[in-house]
């Protein structure tokens, strides 16, 4: 089970701030985000335990995932 936190535009669009998912691969994770299609999730920055990981990463129980979109401001 991994804990997923959503930030940025994706969070406001879906209204989901966090959820738990029983997933093992990135593909499974991308299919499990409430209110978003796999293609939409593909365009989010995904960090696992604070770090960028490859698309072949296999999740461990207790991993913390953050999803956010590129941003700018000043």
């Amino acid at each position: 089970m991994v804990k997923v936190k959503m930030f940025g535009v994706a969070r406001l669009k879906t209204g989901v701030s966090e959820f738990e998912a029983d997933v093992h691969t990135m593909d499974e994770l991308k299919n499990s985000v409430p209110g978003m299609t796999k293609n939409e999730v593909k365009d989010l920055v995904i960090l696992v335990n604070g770090k960028a990981v490859s698309r072949w990463y296999r999740f461990n129980d207790g991993d913390e995932v953050v999803m956010l979109s590129p941003a700018g401001g000043g």
Binding site: F7, G8, V9, R11, L12, S17, K42, D43, L44, V45, I46, L47, G50, A52, R55, V66, L68, S69, P70, A71, G72, G73, G74
Partner: protein, 640 residues
């Protein structure tokens, strides 16, 4: 002095507050071609007057309020005006840019710029309507906070039919009156915040300026401008940053990205992450507190937040305020930040410098250097502290001097987070070293925007290596010059995001974005070539609508290369003026916490390699080893 160019009103007014003499200041078309408008025009005017011995609080100083040629023309986000002066914080020149609608009304009154000098004999406010300038006694306004000041002025401008004459205002609050070094100038609910311009106005005994008029802002090719502007608006509305992220989350939306990248200034910049960041994030602000988005004149982005304080809708906090009064002082109470943000605007004080001065004082107390009673995460009484600063009461009188001067008195220079005397913005530069360079070399002191805003590449928009020094100096120069010119033309810097084609931001995991992220730091030589010979770029970039818009509005020939050269001229002009005041490589410094102490003890790259970056930067700019523009360069840029 009339002009052949569109976008300009052709008149600069100079008011000597001591003698009440009003005169037209000559500014030729050749000067418009070279120095464009806004901050660069102001630098030209200041440069023609200042020798380098003038103090901020003296009759030799000038407060120069300028617009750009695009201000009020209907171009997107083109509401901006600029205020430049000798800063009481840095002792060098500062420029502070503001939205709202004052710039538009200044032009409706027939003016491109307003030069104020001298000191009023009595407390004064000035009314400018078309060609008339009236001086009014401001005894009744003195002491008022900024909203009440502006409401009272509206009452004074009420016409016989009971309606308020449409006008733009700038005013100061109690902080400016009492010469708090980081006082702001407020215009409606927008703020010219940085550098202490409000204190200069306060020293001049000038409470407010109201402008109104009926003149038409000329546009060189109206039909083409209208058609181009439509496309431009559409582009910005479709862009992922200006059309989605900024309208939805405002600048506050960056908090979570900064946290993830380790660049969220926390506990007076001692770390780059705050465990409670989510409670004081843009997401929570948007979900729980934002009533409605607000935008400046002709702005499609509408990034401003509106929140409710005591049943009244008021401006919400920007990113800087949220971070520095949140994690910066270990405060996780967002409602407190909303309230302080409002109070600081009402008192007329820069939220960035106020917050950083407070966090310096908390750390000085924690380290036993200064027994002042202020503690991290203890937020009770902070409203009173801000009031005390504005009225210079008790400990507030000391805090009103800012962190640089306090560290000279109490010690702790290594954690007084300023550059050239002005406190840094909210990005912790040890995980964004390009911005670290920008903070250090910025003409107005610790500013992220004047510093080139390289964080947009270092983890926020794109994700190039945050701590490498490769390529950062050349990219910093490029973005500084680009933003200098956007400012000079009278537009908001957020329009600069258009420079990044939308796919780069929409698809961060695509192969081409990964390629850009990997390769960009090693393209320094290419970027340098573009910086050195911008004239080669005799074209309009399809993603960058600014150059064509400039041409249609003004009638001046403008290519992307020429645009960049104008920005470079502006940046060097400010540097040249600062040279007269003693700026050199030694002054391009950061506190030792940021250049000597690792943010992450396990990561030897997590500090700003400032000397290395400066060396490359000076070389890229064509400056000498002392960090100063050479005569040859100044001649080439037609500055001398």
């Amino acid at each position: 002095m009339a002009t052949q160019y569109g976008g300009y009103m052709g008149k600069v007014l100079k008011i000597d507050l001591t003698t009440k003499e009003v005169s037209e200041y000559p500014f030729s078309d050749r000067e418009r071609e070279l120095f464009i408008g806004s901050k660069t025009m102001a630098a030209k005017i200041l440069g023609d007057h200042l020798k380098g011995t003038e103090k901020a609080f003296s009759t030799e100083n000038l407060l120069v309020v300028t617009t750009g040629p695009l201000t009020g023309t209907g171009a997107p986000s083109a509401s901006r005006f600029n205020i430049s002066t000798v800063s009481p914080q840095t002792g060098y020149i500062t420029s502070s840019n503001c939205g709202g609608h004052f710039g538009y009304y200044l032009k409706k009154a027939g003016l491109d710029a307003l030069i104020l000098t001298g000191q009023c004999e009595e407390k004064t406010w000035i009314e400018i309507q078309n060609d008339s300038v009236k001086f009014h006694n401001a005894d009744d306004l003195w002491g008022m906070k900024t909203t009440r000041t502006q409401e009272t002025l509206d009452d004074k401008l009420r016409m016989k039919n009971g309606r308020v004459r449409k006008n733009g205002k700038i005013c100061i609050g109690p902080a400016g009156e009492n010469l708090v070094l980081y006082s702001s100038i407020v215009s409606n609910d927008r703020v010219s915040g940085r550098g202490g311009t409000g204190a200069v106005m306060g020293w001049m005994r000038l409470k407010a300026v109201c402008v109104s008029g009926t003149k038409e802002i000329p546009i060189y090719d109206k039909d083409k401008m209208i058609a181009h502007t439509k496309k431009w608006f559409k582009y910005l509305r479709k862009h992922p940053l200006t059309g989605d992220q900024l309208p939805r989350l405002g600048t506050a939306g960056l908090v979570s990205s900064m946290q993830m990248r380790g660049m969220l200034s926390t506990k007076n910049y001692s770390r780059g992450q705050y465990e409670d960041f989510e409670k004081v994030s843009g997401e929570v602000l948007a979900e729980k507190y934002n009533i409605v988005n607000k935008g400046c004149l002709t702005c499609p982005i509408r990034c401003a937040r509106t929140v409710e304080i005591d049943g009244r809708p008021v401006k919400g906090p920007e990113l800087e305020t949220l971070v520095l009064l949140g994690g910066g002082i270990l405060n996780n109470d967002l409602e407190a930040v909303l309230k302080w943000n409002y109070e600081l605007d009402e008192l007329g004080m820069d939220t960035i410098s106020a917050a950083n001065t407070l966090s310096y004082a908390m750390e000085a107390n924690e380290k036993g250097l200064w027994d002042n009673g202020l503690k991290f995460s203890e937020i009770e009484g902070i409203s009173k502290i801000f009031e005390d600063i504005a009225y210079r009461r008790g400990i507030g009188n000391e805090l009103a001097e800012g962190s640089k001067r306090l560290s000279e008195k109490y010690g702790g220079k290594e954690f007084a987070i300023h550059a050239k005397g002005m406190e840094l913005a909210a990005y912790e530069p040890r995980k964004a070293v390009g911005l670290g360079l920008g903070y250090a070399v910025s003409n107005r002191g610790g500013c992220h925007l004047n510093g080139g805003y390289l964080v947009i590449l270092e983890g926020l928009g794109l994700s190039i290596n945050q701590t490498t020094y490769h390529g950062k100096a050349d990219l910093t120069m490029m973005f500084q010059d680009l933003m200098e010119m956007i400012s000079a033309s009278g537009q908001c810097l957020f329009t600069s995001y258009a420079f990044f084609p939308a796919p780069l931001l929409k698809h961060p995991n695509s192969w081409y974005v990964k390629l850009v992220n990997g390769v960009l730091p090693y393209c320094g030589a290419v970027v340098r070539l573009m910086n050195k010979y911008p004239e080669m770029l005799k074209l309009h970039l399809p993603v960058f609508h600014h150059t064509k818009g400039f041409e249609y509005a003004t009638g001046m020939k403008m290519t992307f290369g020429h645009y960049m050269r104008c920005g470079e001229r502006g940046y060097n002009l400010e540097r040249e003026i600062n040279r007269r005041f003693g700026v050199n490589a030694n002054k391009d410094a950061l506190p030792s916490r940021l250049v000597k102490t690792l943010q992450d003890p396990k990561d030897p790259t997590s500090k700003v390699p400032l000397e290395k970056l400066k060396k490359v930067y000076y070389h890229a700019r064509g400056w000498d080893s002392h960090g100063l523009p050479t005569k040859k360069l100044l001649k080439k840029l037609e500055i001398i």
